[in-house]
């Protein structure tokens, strides 16, 4: 029973370690694939708007949309 309990605790501990190790190196696609010459839309701020109808209201551009990804924004275009 002790071996079983230790095994379960070790499995959970290793899984948590793996979680931190994996997530620490992850970046959002809009961060990873943006360049000085190309901007990748950030999730939740797409051109079709938060209602996905292609007709966003002006105030919706600046509103905090549902499900917006956290993290540093992509680099602004130089030109």
């Amino acid at each position: 029973m002790k071996a079983f309990a230790a095994a379960v605790i070790a499995a959970i501990a290793l899984a948590v370690l793996a979680m931190f190790a994996l997530t620490s190196n992850q970046r959002f696609a809009y961060q990873a694939f943006a360049t000085s010459g190309a901007r990748v839309s950030e999730p939740g701020t797409n051109l079709v708007g938060p209602r996905w109808n292609g007709d966003p209201r002006p105030d919706e551009f600046n509103a905090e949309p549902h499900g917006k990804a956290e993290g540093a924004g992509s680099a602004p275009k130089r030109s």
């Binding site: 499995a11 290793l14 899984a15 793996a18 696609a29």
Partner: protein, 348 residues
């Protein structure tokens, strides 16, 4: 008469000059003539670039993108259709047949053969250490991870078909999200456990002639009596090599999916998922048989991984060569529980 002739000639020349010009707009708007041939000799529909033409140049159709994500330039990847057909069509049937087939086979076996009972002898009641604490720790770490990985893996195939209609999309979405987390993170202790098990047990799992004799004798499942066996019999060696081989294959394909597009392109990613899912299903079916024989199918077998100590009579019946080896190796019998006074241990 002369005036009339002159007028007629003038009208005729005017008609010849003006006619094509007057009809030109009509032709310009409808360049295809009555016989269907373009006067310019072009066949815009037939000569246009089409899928067939593009696939003669390359097996995918790609465009150009300015972001450093080359795969986003893929427009059409025909292999993806085959992958989708497998993923949505064949895979659920393969999974259901393999797993339910194994459950049915084990049920039939149990009905006909029943539980393999312990054969008592004068050695009954004495215990011999079969697996030490580290071996049991390694086994259970791998096993508990495997169960979670199996359930969360099956959710990828059957969840939306079986679970979602029962609990609704919201609850299913939450469960699937956590199942995905558990699948991705518990894969690491599982891989470590498989590596530990390989190192700890590989020496006792090298096939030899005794295994062939064990197989020819039906492994004790058919008929009565038990063929000779060392620490692990041929069936257990089969499970070991299945876990080692499938574990390695699942690890490699799983790592390829954990780090998408690091070493494989889109087609490679699809192939990894096909291999991962098919091996996973066979793996689950095989481990179901292992669980059956280690618990319900054989009396006394679970103790080996439960407490680590098994009944000496059971060990003598199923692993006689190993018992002799252990007793010869440690004549004082540190692996044996000290019997009550007046009942010497077999090794003494």
């Amino acid at each position: 008469m002369r005036r009339a002739t002159t007028l007629f000639s003038t009208l005729l020349v005017a008609a010849m000059l003006a006619g094509p010009g007057a009809l030109a707009p009509a032709f310009a708007q409808n360049p295809i003539q009555a016989d269907g041939v373009n006067p310019m000799g072009a066949r815009p529909t037939a000569d246009s670039v089409n899928e067939e033409f593009l696939f003669k140049q390359k097996d995918t159709i790609t465009g150009r993108v300015s972001i450093p994500d080359g795969k986003s330039a893929y427009l059409i990847q025909p292999q993806g259709r085959e992958y989708r057909e497998f993923r949505e069509g064949w895979l659920p049937w393969i999974g259901a047949l393999a797993i339910l087939g194994m459950v049915a086979a084990l049920g039939v076996f149990f009905l006909f053969r029943g539980r393999i009972l312990m054969e008592h002898s004068q050695e009954s009641g004495k215990k011999i250490l079969r697996f030490n604490a580290f071996e049991r720790f390694t086994h259970w770490m791998t096993a508990t991870c495997f169960i979670v990985l199996s359930l969360s893996g099956l959710n990828y195939i059957f969840g939306k078909r079986l679970l979602m209609p029962l609990i609704g999309p919201e609850a299913f979405g939450a469960i699937a999200q956590w199942a995905k987390y558990s699948h991705v993170y518990l894969a690491w202790p599982f891989m470590l456990g498989v590596a530990f098990m390989f190192v700890v047990w590989v020496r006792d799992n090298i096939p030899n002639k005794i295994d062939w004799a064990w197989i020819k004798a039906g492994g004790g499942f058919i008929g009565k009596g038990h063929p000779h066996a060392g620490r692990f019999n041929a069936g257990q060696k089969g499970v070991f090599w299945m876990v080692a081989g499938f574990g390695a294959a699942m690890s490699v394909t799983g790592l390829m999916m954990l780090f998408p597009f690091a070493l494989a392109d889109i087609n490679g990613m699809q192939l990894m998922q096909v291999i991962h899912s098919v091996i996973g299903i066979v793996f689950i079916a095989g481990i179901l048989a292992h669980i059956y024989i280690g618990t319900l199918g054989m009396e006394g077998a679970y103790d080996a991984m439960g407490s680590g100590k098994v009944d000496l009579a059971w060990a003598r019946a199923h692993h006689d060569l190993w018992v002799e080896q252990e007793q010869a190796r440690t004549a004082s019998g540190p692996q044996l529980n000290r019997p009550a006074k007046g009942h010497p241990a077999p090794a003494e």
